[in-house]
């Protein structure tokens, strides 16, 4: 277990370094990009004096490293902001204030987080079940008609953009058949049943697309395992096909599926942004799209950092799970 403890420590240190580096990169990229932030923030009709005032207020005249330092300071110990008339304290972890609304970015984020979490967590359960299930089924029925049907369905899911599937689902289910009302977010605390019904279509559209990837991977990983020597051993010892597929081949696919679920967090969040926009769910994604359109840099940077944070953490967790699933990794 000592080796495993060391492995955990190394992973944690690596994750921290990665997070810091991501924050530097994101900060520099956004605040050093061409285009006058003050001008964009203030709007095209601002006078030069107004622009200058905004720049001073946003500390845009400070050198970049100093601003990053302030940002880090805010993150770890909190920071005071003057909003022209009053001073507002932004407690750690402070991601800054929105240029648009003067609200704290973190507050904005936290308000939107439950929506996004509801969407992604529910969809993840679905895509793992549907994806891995389809993969197992097509590996088991390999070479038969049902496998071919599943393969075609998987490919179709793989090739459909999430916003097209969502749109079609919405048009067919809500518009034409009127089986469900057009989704509107209901808080879980208010009415769990309505929460689920309203999220059903967003879940499905996000999950079906992602499930295609998992089905493909599960199938190919299982087929690969089935071609390995140890499967031959169990066949040669009279173990039945069901146990071979369900026990040995599936176990071999576990590690790659974990790896994919981690690698996929980024793309799934991308999918969530599209889904939220399409269905009008007031989540982080929709907020980000809005912030991007009005060039509200603190909100954009804060959101990107939070998302990157989730991705990095998910990857670290997956690494640990992967190591647990395949202990040889620790030794390597």
């Amino acid at each position: 277990m000592n080796g495993f403890g060391g492995f955990l420590l190394r992973r944690a240190a690596g994750t921290l370094i990665t997070l810091l580096a991501v924050s530097v990169l994101v900060y520099v990229v956004f605040y050093a990009t061409p285009g006058n932030v003050a001008q964009i923030t203030c709007g095209p009709r601002c006078s030069p004096e107004q622009v200058h005032q905004v720049a001073a207020q946003l500390r845009l005249d400070d050198p970049l490293y100093l601003r990053y330092f302030h940002f880090l300071q805010g993150l770890f110990v909190g920071q005071d902001y003057s909003t022209g008339t009053s001073v507002e304290h932004c407690a750690a972890p402070c991601l800054g204030l929105s240029y648009q609304s003067d609200q704290q970015v973190l507050t904005l984020l936290l308000a939107k987080l439950p929506v996004s979490l509801s969407l992604v967590a529910g969809a993840m359960v679905l895509w793992l079940v549907i994806g891995v299930g389809t993969g197992v089924l097509s590996a088991w029925r390999r070479g038969r008609l049902s496998e071919r049907v599943l393969t075609v369905l998987t490919l179709a899911g793989w090739a459909t953009p999430v916003f097209v599937l969502g749109l079609v689902l919405m048009i067919v289910v809500c518009g034409e058949l009127q089986l469900l009302p057009f989704p509107q977010y209901v808080r879980f605390g208010d009415d769990p049943e309505q929460w689920a019904w309203n999220l059903l279509l967003p879940w499905l559209s996000l999950a079906l697309i992602e499930a295609a990837a998992f089905a493909r991977l599960t199938r190919s990983a299982m087929l690969e395992t089935l071609a390995e020597d140890h499967i031959r051993t169990f066949r040669a010892y009279g173990v039945g096909e069901r146990a071979i597929v369900g026990r040995h081949a599936l176990r071999g696919a576990l590690a790659p599926v974990i790896a994919l679920n981690a690698n996929n967090v980024g793309s799934a969040i991308g999918g969530a942004v599209l889904t939220e926009t399409l269905f009008g769910l007031p989540g982080i994604g929709q907020e980000l799209v809005h912030a991007v359109k009005v060039v509200d840099l603190p909100v954009v940077v804060g959101m990107v950092l939070v998302v990157a944070f989730f991705v990095v953490i998910a990857n670290a967790v997956a690494d640990v799970l992967y190591a647990l699933a395949d202990r040889r990794v620790v030794l390597a």
């Binding site: 990665t18 956004f30 090739a159 991977l217 071609a227 980024g266 793309s267 999918g271 799209v289 359109k293």
Partner: protein
């Protein structure tokens, strides 16, 4: 459409036993796959359409940007006049609601944008990824550590979110399709670098590379003659699967309104606009969505075919079972 899957799958690819006599065997194996052949034909057609887009619109006698207010019924909110969204001899696929712009012209111009952006982005990803990956594998321990860490960071950046944010802060004067290609290319090269690094390390350990060093050749010549050709197969495989991923990414960004902006047509953007018109003018939604679906599907199937043709192990997956002809006896 998930790049992550492609990366996870490609990471397991085996290149230590590369296809023996390269190109000819590759074509033979590719031709043996009917689905891949059909996909290749579709892709070829799409590329032709994209290349000849101005010619095609000229043939139709239309262009993608001219408004035809006379062809839409302003009294009904701008629904195209005529059946099936105004399909006629002049407007082969009808016209856009509200503006009356020619749909066929916008669709083929959209193909140009879509494929152009995707191929350019793939090229950037491959160039950066191969450079970084080879440098990490061939360079000193220190360089490898730095580059691998940078790659980890790049991989951690979620493409959609970063692209969405980046596209917002770059001045509008920058040509949009070029920008989209650049942004996708500059953010999503991490997995290429990871794969190339791993493959280079494997190749570096092969004896024929050691033998070439013993011959007295310098490091550059050894890398060029013995290493890079071995990288071609995994890089081509990965690139072939990246193209459809990039098509989806461009469409998604344009759908969100931060990708390619009007008046330049783009399928993603058309789908957003068509959202509210699906009842009055369904073809407005169907054509771009169908085009997008077909393109991504064809490119994916072709990519799979290329992989099967290049990676002997993928091909061997088709023959599963105990009696997989024993290496020793069937060879």
């Amino acid at each position: 459409m998930s790049e992550a899957l492609v990366a996870v799958e490609a990471a397991g690819a085996d290149i230590t036993a590369p296809a023996a006599s390269g190109a000819r065997q590759f074509w033979r194996r590719l031709r043996a796959q009917r689905a891949a052949l059909v996909a290749a034909a579709v892709v070829a057609l799409l590329v032709l359409v994209a290349l000849a887009a101005p010619l095609l619109t000229a043939l139709e006698g239309q262009d993608p940007t001219t408004y035809h207010p006379g062809l839409v019924d302003s009294a009904r909110g701008g629904v195209p006049i005529g059946s099936l969204g105004g399909i006629s001899a002049e407007h082969w696929l009808g016209v856009e609601p509200q503006t009356g712009r020619d749909l066929f012209a916008r669709l083929v111009e959209g193909a140009r944008v879509s494929l152009g952006v995707a191929f350019a982005a793939t090229l950037i990803q491959v160039l950066i990824g191969v450079t970084i990956g080879v440098a990490a594998a061939m360079g000193s321990r220190w360089l490898d550590q730095v580059l691998s860490r940078v790659t980890d960071i790049i991989v951690a950046l979620p493409l959609m979110i970063m692209a969405l944010a980046l596209l917002a802060v770059v001045p509008a004067s920058f040509p949009r399709p070029v920008l989209v290609a650049l942004v996708i290319g500059l953010i999503a090269w991490g997995n290429v670098a990871k794969i190339v690094r791993a493959q280079t390390l494997t190749l570096k350990g092969l004896d024929h590379v050691a033998a070439a060093r013993l011959s007295g050749w310098g490091a550059v010549r050894v890398a060029r003659r013995e290493l890079l050709p071995g990288l071609a197969a995994p890089v081509i495989t990965y690139a072939a699967l990246l193209v459809p991923t990039n098509i989806s990414a461009e469409a998604a960004l344009s759908f969100l309104g931060v990708g390619v902006k009007p008046p330049t047509p783009s399928w993603g953007q058309m789908i957003t606009a068509a959202d509210v018109w699906y009842q009055a003018a369904p073809q407005y939604l169907l054509f771009p969505a169908g085009a997008l679906f077909t393109t991504v599907l064809a490119l994916t199937v072709l990519g799979d075919g290329v992989r099967t043709a290049l990676d002997p192990r993928a091909a061997s997956r088709l023959r599963v079972g105990t009696g997989r002809a024993r290496k020793e006896d069937a060879a």
